[in-house]
Symmetry: C2
């Protein structure tokens, strides 16, 4: 039995231009690890329909779940919903339950929404809405593709609303040990242990801090005793600085 | 005439697991914008040879340049060089000039490198080395694929060594204006201006701060006068809060 797999697709001109550093993929990566969904790939593409459709087509057949972020607001560059409809070959239009949510949210702020704001009620046919407790305008799930907002505060709440309803696996456990010796001196025992513990993923991350060349070793797997055991053996074989 | 295009491929289990937040793609995105290379896509895949080869095959034919980060150290999970050799169908082995660089770097620290450390001199046949002034072990360019280290301090120096030698385009200029009004009230004039200025990319980024719902409008293009003009017109049409 293995965990469900997932990919994240960020629609993010602002990340590709270097203006913004991704926060949403980083947040969701941590949440997925916690609930036992294995994140295999992250893609960041431009606000371009062909690019979004091509990425959706590749990812939604390869992974159990696909999570998107961005491009569902009211402006001309918000084209994710149309791209999802195109990828699935279904029509898209204003949906009454989404429109009612928007009207209600704006009414509570004393506003009558304009045409651009009502665009956020355009949902591909057959999708299920994802609640947005921050600003009303919903996300949606179309088959295994989950479409969420790019604004980090809204993205986080949508993730919190969505994840409990998806199939979970075994949470991936992580242990980390810092060695104050260079990576090259750890490589040989680490390689031997990696071969001996195929159920544990061993990662090696060199760092340089305060004049020390050190290495963080990360062990990941589903069995806490195995993680502790492999790291204890590594510690016994490598002198700690 | 249009700018060269590029993609970034991060080999990053530590990002997919949520342990680390990407820094290298963010840094390189800013550098590419500065030299007029249009970044179209970022992918983050696991330390898995099939995943790396599949991504390289897709990206290197689609974009003018591909930059990779990670997986070229001395440990068992460092498989990027082998994946590049497999993607290009060329042999890989210890290369004498790379080995000489490593021996020299270690000698200056009074160390004789072990077998794991010398693995970092394994370079696919036909590649050109990328200098690493931080820790010796070089990166390499294979055709249009540029393979660099994952450690941010080393990645940055490799980018600095590599970029001046690549074909540049026109630097993409960016102007940003903050409006203290919700995105929905900017959408209509913004959409009209986007149609009228097809040479300018207009992005809209809502925010909520100190109880204000506002919107940052970003204009990108290659002609400063056009960016100033479109933003001045938008400011005239939208009331600033």
């Amino acid at each position: 039995m293995s965990n469900p797999t997932a990919a994240i697709l960020i629609i993010g001109d602002e990340i590709l231009s270097g203006r913004t550093r991704d926060a949403n993929a980083h947040h969701l990566a941590g949440e997925l690890a916690r609930v036992g969904i294995d994140l295999r790939e992250i893609r960041i593409v431009a606000d371009d329909q062909d690019a979004i459709v091509a990425a959706l087509d590749a990812l939604r057949v390869r992974y159990d779940q696909v999570f998107t972020s961005g491009g569902i607001g009211p402006t001309h560059d918000d084209i994710t919903a149309d791209a999802v409809a195109a990828a699935f070959g279904v029509p898209i239009g204003i949906r009454e339950d989404a429109r009612a949510i928007l009207l209600d949210t704006y009414a509570r702020r004393g506003i009558v929404p304009n045409e651009a704001q009502l665009r956020m009620a355009r949902i591909p046919e057959g999708a299920r809405l994802i609640e947005n407790i921050v600003s009303g305008a919903p996300g949606f799930s179309m088959a295994n593709v989950h479409v969420m907002a790019g604004v980090p505060a809204i993205f986080r709440e949508m993730v919190a609303a969505l994840l409990p309803g998806l199939p979970h696996g075994l949470p991936r456990l992580v242990r980390e040990v810092r060695f104050d010796v260079p990576e090259g001196l750890i490589a040989a025992p680490l390689t031997a242990l990696a071969a001996e513990y195929p159920d544990v993923q061993l990662g090696s991350y060199p760092f340089a801090a305060e004049g020390v060349r050190g290495t963080n070793i990360v062990a990941k797997g589903y069995d806490a005793a195995r993680l502790d055991e492999v790291l204890a053996r590594l510690e016994a074989e490598v002198p700690r600085g």
